[in-house]
Symmetry: C2
Subunit: 334 residues, 2 copies
Amino acid sequence: MGNINLKELALALNLSTATVSRALRDSHEISPETKKKVLELAKQLNYEPNPAASNLRSHKTKTIAVIIPEVTNNFFSQAINGIEEIARRHDYHVLIYQTHENSDLEMAFMRRLLSGRVDGILISVASETNNDQNFKDIINQLPVVFFDRVNEDIDAVKVTTDDYESTYNATCHLIEGGCKKIAYLMALNNLSTGKKRFAGYCAALNDNGIIKNDALVVNDANNEDENYALIKKLLIDKKPDGIITSIENLALPFYYVCKDLNLNIPRDIKIISFSNLKTAPLLNPSLSTITQPAFEMGKEAAGILFKILNKKYFEPNETLVLKSTIIKRESTGF
Amino acid sequence: MGNINLKELALALNLSTATVSRALRDSHEISPETKKKVLELAKQLNYEPNPAASNLRSHKTKTIAVIIPEVTNNFFSQAINGIEEIARRHDYHVLIYQTHENSDLEMAFMRRLLSGRVDGILISVASETNNDQNFKDIINQLPVVFFDRVNEDIDAVKVTTDDYESTYNATCHLIEGGCKKIAYLMALNNLSTGKKRFAGYCAALNDNGIIKNDALVVNDANNEDENYALIKKLLIDKKPDGIITSIENLALPFYYVCKDLNLNIPRDIKIISFSNLKTAPLLNPSLSTITQPAFEMGKEAAGILFKILNKKYFEPNETLVLKSTIIKRESTGF
DNA sequence: CTGTTAGCGCTTTCAA
DNA sequence: TTGAAAGCGCTAACAG
């Protein structure tokens, strides 16, 4: 705003704007004394370069966009934390866009970003359906790194977690604990994330000689009340002795149902849930968790994006897979 | 990026860039037919105006900044959710900056934003100390709305919650429940938020004829292990029968201490905590909570900022106070 | 209602 | 090592 500009700075120093501009960006073709003079006055006068002008000329925005389903999801807020940390380290600014799982909105965000508002995009997609060509169009015009919820059919740089393995291990954990009828609360089934988790569950059952029963698999209705009803029906009708929730949000209605039905966890039914909630250990009575390294994912994804922006990323488009942590809890709470 | 620009669009339509520019922004001085033609071709060619050029000329960025202590704090992520919703409604972009409670960093962010990167700022401050003049400088140059953690000594638009009243009521709740020795886990004591909460606690004790005992007041050490140790010492040495935690983060170490000391909640000690955690009702065995309307605060604060930006805010600099919700839980969990 | 023109504040040739 | 000059893509006077 009411700030000083390059021209005024140059005038005050008896230099050309070109020289001042170069000095400010520490160009090697400027003498040390000149640089020093410029830097000093700039600091003294609180000079801040106008980003619009700089961007218009140089096509660099010093800004990246983060597109995610929800900020209020623990996983994503932790990822943003990691992204912001790396961005700040590079002196970059971070724009946030929430899709609320709406892929039309997601595509609208991306299209608008093509106007040159950002240097690159970090995205955790809302859906993998019907968008391939759109995504490809974008990727051709702007560096994009996918994280967590990636689009399998697109050749791009991706950072994910070991969805298959972690769910496989989680299922084995329940089987080892004696569970014979393990229910699965399924979500994100239009995404590879969700598919892989489910595949891990299926494979673990199979490898342990348990025949999968589709009646034990319940789909997320994206609605708390409905989920509550679905889970209640499941617990009453099928009486599972173990349950896996493939997203954090599904653990809540499950707990309420148990409370209502007077089911004791873990005596009557054991649970293991995906969760990035720090207070999860306090959930009653014993919640085993699969925790994704959200913060690290944010950092890794952002790190790769900056490597691309600095032309220092020479790998082929690859998927970096980070390990989730499974925490097994057996206590009966307080 | 490789996008089409105004000039090309104008050329293709046999119009001047000025006309096209006006048509695109729905100016009243353009004929309907021309507008229609322009809009159609623009859509067809996927034209996206270059924000840098537009900003450079018009001094409008269509961007606001949100400066907060931590994204991973439930309260703030919910506030961001509200802010983003309003911003999108106005076709604005949202930049996120985390201060991690560091007020130097906070000031550095604000200074950099003066370069014209944003049209306005929403901030929840890291500290109220030693920054008054700096804040005043910023406010003179850019519209700023403070929310939740506001700087009392600055004349600006603010949105807060009823910190005093809610803590007062929370304390009364414990007293009504029979508590005689109510401890207070204090945080944010360099902020009016923290001070008001503490004042509410003190006033409630006083109004109920209880003499405040400073030994029952413990200060947040900003460190999980240390807080654990402090709280443990408090519970062993002073044996309080009730406790109020003035921020969500302090409830966790408290729970761990109770578990370690084999203290039964609420039989041995009752608790009421500030918390914006959705799963709080599942915390064992009975956590009464003070929940701030974070989402609504984000919406309100952003709404006011947009009114200011659209020159539709004519109130004097006022503080809008939103009501928190106190949820009293008495059950012994599952 | 439409066009002409100037210029926002930078960066980047090109020339010195 | 520095300067002069052009121009990024748009908007805003001003003129017609």
